[in-house]
Symmetry: C2
């Protein structure tokens, strides 16, 4: 979806990396996160200050190979090393489908995926709080009465194109990723803002041991991309503004999808919410990155199957610990793919 924006922006978006640049393992040998490129860190902090979505002062920054690696690093850092059995990792259903295999398949020595947080109690779990939530776009707070420091906030969609920025988040651990801001999924680059020094050290250790740091090429490229994003808002005359572009795209797509859903009469979507956005300084609707589409027809028990029969591929609700009457529709597909999806949905009777 974002490709059009970057093509339009032209040659000035290119990063040039000479053969001798960034060869060493170390980006910042004396730093806490020694594989973090200083210019990438600078641009990340600058962007958060510009948007106002997350506190950066007093926070340590840990870079990772996408938010995926960082969520594992955070769980590792919060897991008690001396426990007799693995600590449970939970999130309220519907939850991001990748949380389960990330935790259970790879890292089951210290912790174990335990499923729906709504079914748990007490303070002996680590909770992944995804807000806005993947797959349903809901704004969430931690549901477990956890001890301090046992929640991980996955805020990868807390950007102005997806939701009004209603305040500066200041949780203990906050995860972000390039792919959901600028569309650069292929750079595999995420970061964590971490309040506690010891937790930041443990997360750094995890990334060190699992991949000996993070691609410096990706960091150099991302620094360039983020510089362009912020620069456009510093210059009153610059009209090539990423969040404006992306919000218009999302608005158009949600309008098209809601119109189609209304016309078929067979499906429902979460109600549109809106709020005052401190970044755009206006009341704006939320345009989640995914649509949590529910089939309301009594006879249909599996929405994914129904859609597949009409050439629409979507992930079934049960993957997210939720209802099979729901599916997750990706709102960030390329234009052509999204148009076909809406067209095919509209033909279902």
């Amino acid at each position: 979806m974002y490709e059009a924006f970057w093509k339009e922006a032209g040659e000035r978006t290119a990063v040039v990396i000479p053969g001798w640049r960034g060869m060493s393992y170390f980006s910042d040998a004396g730093g806490l996160c020694w594989f973090l490129e200083p210019e990438f860190e600078r641009e990340v902090r600058r962007l958060h200050r510009l948007v106002g979505n997350a506190a950066v002062d007093g926070y340590h920054l840990v870079v990772g190979t996408g938010a995926t690696q960082l969520s594992q690093a955070a769980i590792y850092a919060l897991s008690p090393a001396d426990a007799n059995h693995p600590i449970g990792v939970v999130s309220p259903a519907p939850y991001y489908s990748a949380y389960a295999p990330q935790t259970d398949l790879l890292l089951s020595g210290f912790y174990r995926w335990a499923g729906d947080a709504n079914a748990m109690g007490g303070d002996s779990h680590i909770e992944l709080v995804c807000s806005p939530n993947n797959p349903d776009g809901a704004i969430r707070e931690a549901v477990l009465s956890s001890k301090p420091g046992k929640a991980i906030h996955d805020l990868v969609y807390y950007w102005p194109q997806y939701t009004p920025i209603t305040g500066t988040a200041a949780h203990d651990i906050m995860l972000f990723t390039m792919s959901k801001i600028t569309g650069h999924a292929g750079t595999r680059l995420g970061w964590a803002l971490v309040k506690d020094l010891e937790v930041a050290k443990k997360m750094t250790y995890f990334v060190d041991r699992s991949t000996i740091g993070v691609s410096r090429d990706s960091q150099l490229r991302a620094a360039k991309i983020l510089t362009l994003v912020s620069d456009a808002y510093d210059d009153d005359k610059d009209t090539r503004r990423l969040f404006d572009f992306a919000q218009r795209c999302m608005a158009d797509r949600w309008q098209a999808l809601r119109a189609t859903v209304a016309s078929t009469g067979m499906f429902s979507l979460p109600e549109e919410t809106s709020g005052y956005c401190t970044f755009t300084k206006q009341i704006v609707p939320a345009y989640p990155a995914f649509a949590w589409l529910r089939c309301e027809k009594e006879s249909v028990e599996n929405c994914r199957e129904l859609l597949r029969g009409h050439g629409v591929l979507a992930q079934g609700g049960e993957l997210f610990g939720g209802d099979a009457r729901c599916v997750r529709v990706n709102m960030l597909e390329r234009d052509g793919v999204f148009d076909v999806l809406v067209q095919r949905l509209s033909s279902i009777e």
Copy 2:
């Protein structure tokens, strides 16, 4: 050490990545390893054919965030999923010090670091075979009478600057990494050549779940770098040949180190070995990436402590499951660092 080569090679070594390139998660959506850039794969296969160090025909290529991630992926792929307890992972001492924390700290559900392979028997372990070996440069074969498919060959140093290429390796799983070939450690890019389709699929799944693929920026850059390396050998007049340069550097450094060690009379090094190299077509000595330095003075039980007292930092032998009278000296440091090291060693009495 390689930085001088790439600086000398100049501007033509630069990679240029426009803002819109490589944005998607997918590099090759229909491929087995869907996050592998086709041009990177092409250059990797070309380089192995040029050097003749490893078979590529009939092998699947899986890319990873360094050989570190791939060794975990390979162990995961070889671990029985239905075992009641974790399978042991072993390597003969002295073994690469990072094998232990990579396996034990991160991934202890399915497997567990079990230490020195020489102390084991039977066929119930996974063996990491590092050849030439880190830390001591030894040429190794699997020591356990393992079942087929239970050895992982870590061949990251099997390149002409470090050892004569004596044959085309054709093991079940072979690991390589950019950092040890061209010096680009910061790209965090490795690959595995894998004979068995199911193992390659499992390794791909591991990389998918742990980092959702591998930086495409790193792959694009590495493709460019490897193209230059191979091109120089295709053109008879090109004198900027990486392996020639690197071998000269290694020869100079080993000569300097051996002369110093001989002059102090306090230390010993593994004996120099040599062999006919099918790549250079001459008999050449091995120049390992690390020197396994042993203190021969009776009164010294900890070589690392002794060296530290003289301003020489090296990793102690016990980290590698070996003797504390030994240390691992990095032969790939920057020129200035290496020169100081030799100078300080020569002053020890």
